[in-house]
């Protein structure tokens, strides 16, 4: 018995040594993130959690760099835009896939054609916007879009290029779990629900990355993510839980990095005839009744910045002069009186309860503010898997909480999808769940649809955001903050990116 106990003890002791031993030189980088990637096939998912992994294994024709997400050359060394419908890319020379095959224009064509297949693709809008793809030689690709597609160029950084030969030689299931691209890191393994491992691509066209081994742990449970950081099992954690912020701040071994999130949280309103919301004064009264500063302080614990429009500062069309309408319950009551709703009316605010940071609590707060000005508001929050299809169906809600983040850094899509009149031909209003409709906003979107010149487009969309504030089809609330935690003594240098991706070649470690 004693012997066995000794064995157990020494075993435990050894385990401690293994866990606590200091990391050696050229140590692997260990990261943790909160949401698992769903697939390793670049066509099959457009979520940030998946792109954040794939950007390390694949390249796009262009890339986005650093803090502000500036567009830089990727696999294409340059591009031209000779007319409204045509985009021409010239590929970099000498780029090779991880299996040694050279990259050619045929691979690019193949990768984009996959995006148009509804059985395969989550990039249908992009894939089906393209009318034809020509490859006059090995290095040249010419895209013709069906209609002028201004956001085409700002989107290609997340459309990753796969190898035609490689994908065709494997079945779809295998392609979905084993990625092979041209990127700075080669894929090693993916144990679902646990981790992914990568190793440096020494032959990378942009130079071999400095960190040779990277492991990405996926930890969905917030408390466990904190434990992973506090115990030093990982170097860097993305998606720090807000509710543990102070605990992390007090821990001398840890450091917090933050960056405003690109995601705008808002309340959407309908204007169907016969409902109180048809009157713009009522919609404005709802806007004025909500104390957003208090929501930021109390619900978001100060970790959010007020939003005045359906765009973040990195997007085309963001209007820097636009401010939120100030909280003013007296004016709100006056407007309601003017509109003939002095005694209020009944309304239900719907929303998800498992999607955005504190989503249900924000909706709850909003309902209480409305009750204070005499509107009899009720709350209807539900899981996103039920809520999203109901929004998209368009006949369930007049008033709901939603959020938008445009991966292509262009605020027009947010407007046309959420606020423009539902229109199947134009592809508008897919998420316009209250079926709000206003001719002036539609007209602006018609103009934006063909305006490709970036400076002109910026001006037009800035104006659109002013018009939207006047018409109140939505009440922008705030942008959250992305939080990251670092273990201090590991010598990790990291700059958070706007879209929350973890790009390993941009991270440094001693």
């Amino acid at each position: 018995m004693r012997k066995r106990r000794m064995a157990l003890l020494s075993g435990l002791l050894f385990a401690c040594l293994v866990c606590a031993s200091p990391t050696l030189a050229a140590s692997p980088l260990i990261l943790a993130d909160d949401t698992p990637p769903t697939t390793m096939d670049p066509a099959a998912d457009n979520s940030d959690s998946t792109c954040s992994v794939l950007v390390n294994v694949f390249d796009g024709l262009l890339a986005r760099e650093g803090k502000e997400g500036k567009i830089v050359p990727g696999l294409a060394e340059k591009y031209e835009h000779p007319d409204a419908l045509t985009w021409k890319f010239i590929l970099r020379q000498g780029v090779k896939f991880h299996n040694g095959n050279p990259l050619t224009s045929a691979d690019v064509k193949f990768s984009f054609e996959r995006l148009a297949d509804p059985k395969l693709s989550k990039w249908l809008e992009t894939g089906q916007a393209i009318a034809s793809i020509e490859t006059p030689d090995e290095r040249t690709i010419i895209f013709k879009t069906k209609n002028p597609t201004p956001w085409f160029i700002s989107n290609v950084h997340q459309l990753f290029i796969v190898s035609k030969k490689d994908v065709e030689s494997r079945d779809a299931g295998d392609v979905g779990v084993k990625p092979m691209g041209t990127g700075p890191y080669k894929f090693v393994e993916w144990i679902k629900g646990s981790h992914l491992k990568f190793t440096a691509n020494e032959a990378y066209w942009g130079g071999a990355p400095k960190i040779k081994q990277v492991e990405l742990k996926i930890i969905t449970e917030p408390a466990t993510r904190f434990a992973a950081l506090a115990s030093g099992s990982v170097d860097l954690v993305a998606g720090l839980p807000l509710e543990l912020f102070e605990q992390i701040q007090q821990n001398p071994k840890l450091e917090i990095l933050s960056r405003p999130s690109r995601r705008v949280i808002f309340l959407a309103l309908g204007n169907k005839a016969g409902t109180p919301l048809a009157d713009v004064r009522v919609r404005r009264a709802i806007y004025l009744a909500i104390n957003e500063d208090e929501i930021i302080q109390k619900v978001m614990q100060g970790k959010a910045s007020p939003a005045a429009q359906l765009a973040d500062s990195a997007s085309t069309g963001f209007n820097p002069t636009l401010k939120r309408l100030p909280f003013d319950p007296e004016k709100s009551k006056a407007l309601l009186k003017e509109a003939g709703y002095e005694k209020g009316f009944e309304i239900t605010l719907a929303g998800p309860n498992d999607r955005y940071v504190n989503d249900a609590k924000i909706a709850e707060a909003a309902v209480q503010y409305l009750n204070k000005v005499g509107i009899k508001a009720k709350l209807d929050v539900k899981p996103k898997a039920v809520f999203f299809p109901e929004v998209s169906s368009g006949d369930k809600f007049d008033f709901y909480l939603l959020s938008w983040l445009d991966g292509a850094y262009d605020s027009a899509r947010g407007i046309s999808t959420n606020l423009a009149t539902y229109n199947k031909e134009k592809g508008w209003g897919g998420w316009n769940g209250a079926r709000f409709s206003d001719p002036e906003i539609d007209a602006l979107m018609d103009q934006a649809a063909v305006m490709v010149d970036l400076a002109e487009r910026d001006k037009l969309l800035q104006k659109a955001h002013v018009v939207i504030q006047e018409k109140v089809p939505l009440i922008p609330l705030h942008c959250g903050i992305d939080l990251y935690g670092l273990v201090k003594d590991r010598g990790v240098k990291f700059t958070p990116r706007p879209e929350r991706w973890l790009v390993y070649k941009e991270i440094e470690k001693k």
Binding site: I191, K192, S194, A227, P389
Partner: protein, 307 residues
Amino acid sequence: MLGVTFICFVIFRFTGDPSVIIAGQDATPAQVEEVRQAYGLDKPFYIQYVLWLSHAARGDFGRSFISRVPALGLILERLPATVELATTAVLLALSLGVFLGVVVSIRPRRWLSRLIMMSSLAGISTPTFLIGTLLIMVFAVELGILPPFGRGETVLLFHYWPTGFLTLSGLTHLVLPVLTLVGYQLAVLLRLTRAGMREVLGEEYIKTAWAKGLSRKRVVFKHALRNVLIPVVTMSGLMLGEILVFSIVTETIYQWPGMGNLLLTSIYESDQPVIVAYIMLASFIILTINVGVDILYALLNPKIRYD
């Protein structure tokens, strides 16, 4: 099991249309429609059900809406992790529970017995997520002697089964989740054994055994315990099934790459093919275990025979 499939399908009728989620944020209404057709979600309910059944009969449970790989494969890939966790926990709970139960029943008034009984009450009434979080905070964060999450290094057995039993890191990663799961199981089995033992120890035939002058070991383990084991084995079988299929909380807290973890993610994403395949597999596992337990009865009690 046919009934189970039908209920699953009926439930999904009420959880919303997945094509919106499959098509993604930027898809236009027309493209959502296209996706709906591509996945056959536009067909009437009964046709979808019959189609699914005919495929399932051939072992094809469809592809995940989210990761677009076969749903059953996605689950089976996670099976080894869960099986190792569950069997370790149940075996530990069974052996310790029976042992402690016997100790407590022989000397019910000793302070040690009272202590064991008291802690078993705590084991039954403390929720898993609390035990899990506390264990992580104490052993991983404060003391830093055990890893807080994950499964550690694994070794591939027979080209299919990655096992954590054969590496030190795998074993250390197993400690906390097993402790978390064991708490409740141990307490239940202990109490069950004790209750049974106390009843049996008062029986006439035990008195006879004592009177015959048999050794204490023989009386307690051969004559008494064997008769107590039937409900205990039944209970452990049920528990094994339950942990295998529904150890969602523990797997989530420890980020254990098992099936429960997958189920939770799939529910959040409303990945219906995976959920249905999971429920099918779950009912299959539980049925199998129940049959296994029935067979064990015969071994424990020779009076039970299945002809």
